[in-house]
Symmetry: C2
Subunit: 207 residues, 2 copies
DNA sequence: CGAAAATTTGACATGACTCAACTGGAGTGG
DNA sequence: CCACTCCAGTTGAGTCATGTCAAATTTTCG
């Protein structure tokens, strides 16, 4: 009985989703998998709680097992602007702060109660050193990330508020269900009021 | 005399800027440097000439030795939107097309007569295979790229047209000198006319 | 259940766009 | 070396998409 309890504490966290995320791109030896897992930290975050905030250096990469987080900042206009959203099986963070180990500019906040897995800056160095293919996986990830962010720039440049919302709703139906309107509006670069009007126009014009 | 001529043709291209770009992050053995150089292609591009265009798969990474290129697309609004600009010692491309080897959506066009260095998709695979630290360098590059693009999203979300221009002019004085106004406007997400007005207002208000 | 947070709605304001006409180079060819 | 065209930039008048503000309503959650 004691044994099972200890097992629960030290082993029972479920890293399978994260491993499924990484393993298709890489063949981990048993040692390597053990190293990777040894470095992971499992955390539970309550709704509204902050994972990072401006002024503090970002020490961890954050992978969302389940729940929802957002990254936002407060601009000179004193408005919140949402930079990124992450639900189950996505990553989120303040990449500039982590990369250069300088104070963050973003808040990372839980939109729902959320469970995350993290690894530290030092651990990432270790992983890059000890697992030859790890850099490759990360490279692919960052490249895809860059492509995604660039797509967002493209929408911002060429689409109207209504078109941006439509594209968003089509691309991320999950977000439309789970993320409050005012956050979506701040992600799309429009006011809550205007997004509200867009939504209701759509409904009424469907009759 | 014959010998010098051959040397000119096969050896004389100046890869030093590119190597300076890469080598701080990596210790290349002589073999590795030879491999890298063997894979590079040196090209001269005339003003207005296209390096890539929509519908064609992007086969090369492009590094600008000197000159200026831009990446743009034509939106549903039939307007040109500039996605990225590159002058001396920068990279440019359609990363989505290269990564997934699917048809490009972007035009890459020379703004001035330009010299570039390229390597192919296959070569990149080779470099990743043969040069252990190459993935690491690329990872860092893509990570920095992602951070940069994200900064642009931040400006788009939180700044007015005038503020965006001011930030741009401060950050990239080179571009203000060398890139025509209508391209800068399309990069910043505003019309040529409006940017023209912003510029002239600024001058007149300085008296 | 009650307070706080999120959303909706309407009237009004404005930043940025559209259109159209004009100006001033920069090539280009005779 | 002029004449011509073409492309980039400028300017102004009118318009439209989106923002602002404020109040009413609905939803959420402790």
């Amino acid at each position: 009985m004691k044994l099972t309890q200890r097992m629960f504490v030290t082993v029972m966290h479920d890293y399978s989703t994260l491993l499924k995320h990484i393993e298709p791109h890489i063949n981990l030896s048993d040692e390597e998998r053990t190293l990777l897992i040894s470095v992971l930290k499992y955390k539970k975050i309550k709704r509204k709680q902050l994972v990072e905030q401006p002024g503090f250096v970002s020490k961890y990469r954050t992978y969302v097992v389940e729940g929802a987080l957002r990254a936002y900042f407060i601009g000179a206009d004193e408005q919140e602007h949402t930079i990124s959203l992450a639900v189950d099986d996505w990553w989120i963070g303040d990449p500039g702060s982590f990369l250069f180990q300088e104070p963050a500019t973003l808040y990372i906040e839980a939109i729902e109660d959320t469970t995350i897995i993290q690894w530290s800056y030092e651990s990432e160095k270790l992983l890059l050193e000890k697992i030859p293919q790890f850099a490759m996986v990360m490279m692919m990830r960052w490249q895809r990330t860059a492509v995604m962010i660039q797509r967002r720039v493209i929408s911002n440049l060429s689409l109207s508020a209504e078109e941006r919302y439509e594209e968003f709703a089509k691309k991320y139906p999950v977000f439309v269900q789970r993320i409050p309107l005012y956050i979506i509006a701040s992600y799309l670069g429009m006011t809550r009021e205007f997004l509200s009007k867009i939504r209701n126009q759509k409904i009424s014009s469907k009759n």
